[in-house]
Amino acid sequence: MTLDTAQPELIQLLTPEGERIDRPDYPLDLTPDEIRDLYRDLVNVRRIDLEAVALTRQGELGIWASLLGQEAAQIGSGRALRPSDMVFPTYREHGVAWCRQVEPIKLLGLFRGVNHSGWDPAEHGFHLYTIVIGSQTLHATGYAMGIQRDGSDDATIAYFGDGATSQGDVNEAFVWASVFNTPIVFFCQNNQWAISEPLEKQSRIPLYKRAQGFGFPGLRVDGNDVFACLAVTRKALADARSGQGPTLIEAFTYRMGAHTTTDDPTRYRLDGELEAWKLKDPIERVKAYLVKNQLAGADFFADVEAQAKQIGSDLRKACLELPDPPPQAMFEHVYATEHSLITAEQSAFADYLSSFADEGVS
């Protein structure tokens, strides 16, 4: 893969150097406050991520899938949504979760092993993390079919990775979305790697072109450019709401960390690649823009840092306090309605546990 993102098809509104580019087809008028807020978001989610990585190193989490490098793709797209929209994430969309007001601690349960998910999807318009690659794209498409039947102008957005594009389910979601013209945005974060496999193992052409084969628009956006991600996703969502059907957005970005905390990328990729991408850091360019345009000074940046630090330490504290579920929780929520087998097993388990208590007493 080329490390040069200066590709003609790449939609960019903010260069790595912090220069604003005008794209009449993707107009974006942000107030200074809005830009500062985006910057804050980016810094905050990076901080949450760093803290989670640290917690994993210290054994407090079993594993963590880091979003490092993908902050702009997630904040840009996440901030394009409205509250009643529905997000279908993978396991790496901590930045989108932030935009959907999911408290950071709620993301940690899964990775700590205290639950399989920690938030109410309906409350946040943010569905559960999905680990089986690609399966959520069909859920998102079905949900969008429901929106159509409700006569609502909500939209859904489905996140997935470059690797996921090879799964049958993702392609079936493209078929469905196209045939039923559903209000959905397929947001593919092409972070160049699926664990150890580079993009070439999944596709020989740029991923955004996949959409052409299914008859709906696909486009590639600079995934490290929060302005571009915001503008492009807004446009795609607006199209979805107005009955123009699906769009595939390929956010061209880079997984700056390991696949997860258990992965060792030195086995399969060169340091140089990471160094090159560091020059395109999604946060630095917003900072450069703010500074160049005198929209923020040292005070602001110090304040952002302080807030992020606070969020990090709050998260750490909350994580350490996360209780293990009681053993009986295994039997809860297997079914929504009474199920005699579960009832029987649960009571046998209770008896079994209390047989140890008896031992203790006798």
Binding site: S135, L138, H139, M145, L341
Partner: protein, 323 residues
């Protein structure tokens, strides 16, 4: 008059129609379910009356059917999916096993997935490969799913409605070779709860357990022997209505389990294991299983040898009595 004579297929059709009338969130989806009314005509006329938004002819992809049904359920709908034939449920296995079954627990109970997966099942209709499978054991082993099988028109009518009304995902097996069997259906009758077994025929010598297509076979077997068979129609495979079964086996002391699926690692194994544990001192013979052989479903000219029939059921009854 609330009682009419209906085929099993028509009873399902009427049950779905009633559910759709009562709840606008109920949707039908699958391959050819709309204009054609399904290859077995089970959804006949529903698209005409409820429109294309509620009776959806889908693209040809089973994972897509179940995956989008999950999404529709997340938006508050109650999709009833038709898998055209038993053998075509496997492309949807991942969505059923890793998503449909687990989502409720994954969400700590916040998300409910009232999705019904209708599967015409079993052999005996002279069909080609993949059209005569009995894949129930794949689903009974999958925690989070309810698995039921109807065996007659009256149950078909009530059970499909109960399945649709249920807030858990339900795998709903329909005995395709019994689609055309007729029986009276009383629409006003109070149905048995969904998860209860039914003693289809009382008897004293041997308890015979069956579900779906084999219930009729076992009832016929009972008519062809002097032994007194107690035939139980399990109806619900997961959960299993153990009390009804145990009560019977403790009385008869003998049990034969009959299904079309291969015996090895099949659902009958669970029945045998569980019943033996619950009735150990009452059993005069081991629970015997009659089922398909441990081979792929054979070409249809051999299916009469493959499928349990009256003779094989009675052979097992004899072996049980003589054990």
């Amino acid at each position: 008059m609330t009682t009419t004579t209906l085929t099993l297929a028509k009873a399902l059709n009427e049950g779905m129609r009633k559910a759709m009338e009562e709840d606008p969130k109920v949707l039908i989806m699958g391959e050819d379910v709309g204009r054609l009314g399904g290859v077995f005509r089970v959804t006949d006329g529903l698209q005409k009356d409820f429109g294309e938004d509620r009776v959806i002819d889908t693209p040809l992809a089973e994972s897509g059917i179940i995956g989008t049904a999950i999404g529709l359920a997340l938006r508050g709908y109650r999709p009833v999916c038709e898998i055209q034939f038993d053998g075509f449920v496997f492309p949807a296995a991942d969505q059923i096993i890793t998503q449909l079954a687990k989502m409720h627990m994954r969400s700590l109970g916040l998300v409910r997935l009232p999705v019904v997966v209708r599967i015409p099942c079993g052999g005996g209709i002279g069909a080609v490969e993949h059209h005569s499978e009995s894949p129930e054991a794949y689903f009974t082993h999958t925690a989070g799913l309810r698995v039921v099988a109807c065996s007659n028109p009256a149950d078909a009518y009530s059970m499909i409605q109960q399945a649709i009304a249920c807030d858990d995902p339900v795998i709903f097996f329909e005995p395709k070779r019994r689609y055309w069997d007729k029986a009276p259906v009383d629409r006003a009758a109070d149905p048995l709860p969904f998860d209860r077994a039914q003693v289809a025929l009382a008897g004293t010598d041997v308890t015979v357990l069956a579900y779906g297509p084999m219930v009729k076979t076992c009832l016929e077997a009972s008519g062809a022997t002097d032994r007194s068979l107690e035939v139980i129609d399990l109806r619900s495979l997961n959960p299993l209505d153990l009390p009804v079964v145990v009560d019977s086996v403790r009385r008869t002391g003998r049990c034969v389990v009959v299904h079309e699926a291969p015996v090895f690692s099949g659902y009958g194994a669970e029945l045998a294991a569980r019943i033996t544990e619950a009735c150990f001192y009452h059993l005069e013979a081991p629970v015997l299983r009659v089922g398909g052989y441990s081979t792929p479903y054979p070409p249809s000219r051999l299916e009469d040898h493959y499928l349990p029939d009256l003779d094989r059921v009675l052979d097992a009854v004899d072996r049980s009595m003589e054990f």
